[in-house]
Symmetry: C2
Subunit: 352 residues, 2 copies
DNA sequence: GTGAAAGCGCTAACAA
DNA sequence: TTGTTAGCGCTTTCAC
């Protein structure tokens, strides 16, 4: 709660009065304009000090018709990936004197649109949008239709209206393929969430092409589901129940890795003895569990940096066709990846 | 990037012109003031529709001298706990027509102070502060000194100036004690991060008192470190290297659980056969790994709800002494907790 | 019922 | 070099 005394913050006029100058002069001093008499600069500083004056950035922005606010719209805050993304974006915005206002779309297109509208109401200088779905989402259209300045990140490989920055999914998947094929795996299950968008396709095709190039006889099974996680679990469970026995699973998303792990548990399979596992997205716990889990690390810091870079270039008026950047991922091979088990494939285990 | 056409958003005056009324009338219509002639209401709505007018909330707030913005200051965004906290706070703020602006202090007091200043510059209506340290932090003082309205959450059991909402650490720890003692553990290591603040003390004492009440001969070792995680790791490693062999570890924070797990790994110990593990804070992966990890679940939703409730009461002018709420936690006993191993305690294992 | 006028806190053009 | 004036987009008296 607030303490007893009502704190009415001093305005620029209060400072002006105390310093015996005009508000305009105070404003100049605050902005380091050099045409002010040193003596007055001094008096203004003193008044500022005494009153504890701090400018209201929103009022200032209003007048200048330019808000030093960047909006960020992300599907969620709960994951390490997006959490860390927010942290980076926040820092990069502040570095330039802007404030980041982040909002979560909760994987809902309506919500995404609503937030976009609010960002527009706020007249934010620019928006970093991690769209709810792949390139077919409405977010971009909305931004486009309202003439907003923005960058799209994650799950978007390119866009016809906006700059995009994403992880280089295709190369990363190719590296996973090299790793798995190299270790002798010839039957791999790929699981993933999301629409048949460019991002999923890149991850999938990057894997498939490289794997098949290394050994045309490799068997690659694929289970993709819409954005919900439970159908994916059901499909995977069903897949294993049918007796399918891949020697490795490659998950295109973190949730998929979790689902795969829990399905292994149900059946009493252990990594990497019974089956190998590697997935997109690293997490802190993956290097601590037994076994440790192999993961593709997306370069959050670089994605954030490039996105903000592009965004501010556009804010500063740079024109030209949209660019599409891809940032290199890193594959952390951990204990969950091994050679295919030499013995007979594990049986149905605790299946169903 | 923005498309070719420059989008200058319509102001309330544009609407007024199109509707053939004054800006004041438009304002009234937008706010549902009933003293406007129905015909004019109609024309205003039409103009709004045609122009796609949306009020600028910041300009509006400026005039009303009251910003519909809530600030949230959290130590980090990367954890599930705080990520989910932001999501909840965001939703609760929007429910009341406010926008949440979240910032991360990165466990730094300077940064916390800086953010607090910025929140004040923004003239936010209220602040939800999860302080960097326990009750000795400067955040509260700063808010107090500047007459800000706020609530403190997490790691703060009470405050003399602000309402607080936290998890009921003491009860939760007591329950952990009952569980461990009940299963026969008589030698427990408690690990934790953070100062000797009220929150850590509550968690520790809640455990100790209940455990000792159940069996006075129980041995409780404690390793507490300042806010950094590596010293904690070193201390734990050292502790085990000295040959200490507790049958269970109770971690007061998520990071501690991770450190404990990784130290178990180093030594080749498995839960719960070699040692049991339970810690504060649940995470998605804990129910998926082998073994699954027991955890105290903090009721993020309730903490958020109560905090926002208190905050808006204060914003609406409610006076009275600060309240201190504690929300009940839930203990999820999972596979990592078992009976003490009956055989000889595990040896030094891979120890250093 | 309505609109002119004043003003939130600030900045930018211009005149002095 | 400085202060006056005129707003940014909105709300709120308060006359009419």
């Amino acid at each position: 709660m607030s303490s007893g005394a009502v704190h009415k913050r001093p305005s620029i006029h209060d400072v002006a009065n105390h310093a015996g100058v005009s508000a305009a002069t105070v404003s100049k001093v605050m902005h380091g304009v050099s045409t002010v008499k040193p003596e007055n600069v001094q008096r203004v500083f003193e008044a500022v000090e005494r009153l504890g004056y701090r400018a209201d950035p929103l009022a200032s922005d209003l007048r200048r018709a330019k808000r030093r606010i960047i909006g960020a719209i992300l599907p969620e805050f709960e994951s390490e990936f997006f959490g860390s993304m927010v942290t980076h974006l926040e820092r990069l915005a502040e570095l330039r004197g802007y404030t980041l206002v982040a909002a979560s779309s909760g994987e809902s297109e309506e919500r995404e649109a609503e937030i976009l509208r609010r960002m527009q109401d706020w007249r934010v200088a620019g928006v970093v949008l991690a769209p709810v779905r792949d390139e077919h989402g409405r977010g971009g259209e909305l931004m486009q239709a309202h003439g907003m300045t923005g960058v799209m990140i994650d799950r978007v490989l390119s866009d016809e209206s906006f700059d995009t920055v994403s992880a280089d999914s295709m190369s990363a998947s190719a590296e996973v393929a090299r790793e798995l094929i190299g270790r002798g795996h010839r039957h791999v299950l790929v699981v993933g969430l999301g629409e048949q968008g460019a991002c999923v396709r890149a991850r999938l095709e990057g894997f498939r092409r490289t794997a098949e190039a290394l050994d045309p006889k490799v068997q690659i099974d694929v289970i993709l589901c819409e954005s919900d996680v439970e159908p994916l679990r059901a499909s995977i469970r069903d897949y294993f129940s049918r007796g399918e026995r891949p020697t490795a699973v490659f998950s295109l998303f973190l949730k998929g890795t979790l689902v795969a792990l829990s399905e292994f548990r149900r059946r009493g399979w252990h990594c990497p003895d019974d089956i190998s596992l590697v997935g997109f997205d690293d997490a802190e716990w993956m290097s601590v569990t037994w076994p440790t889990i192999a993961a593709v690390v997306q370069p959050v810091d670089q994605i954030a940096a490039q996105a903000m870079d592009m965004l501010f270039r556009r804010i500063d008026g740079e024109t030209g066709p949209p660019t599409a950047r891809l940032e290199r991922c890193q594959l952390l091979v951990r204990e969950s990846v091994g050679a295919p088990s030499s013995g007979p494939h594990p049986g149905g285990g605790a299946g169903q």
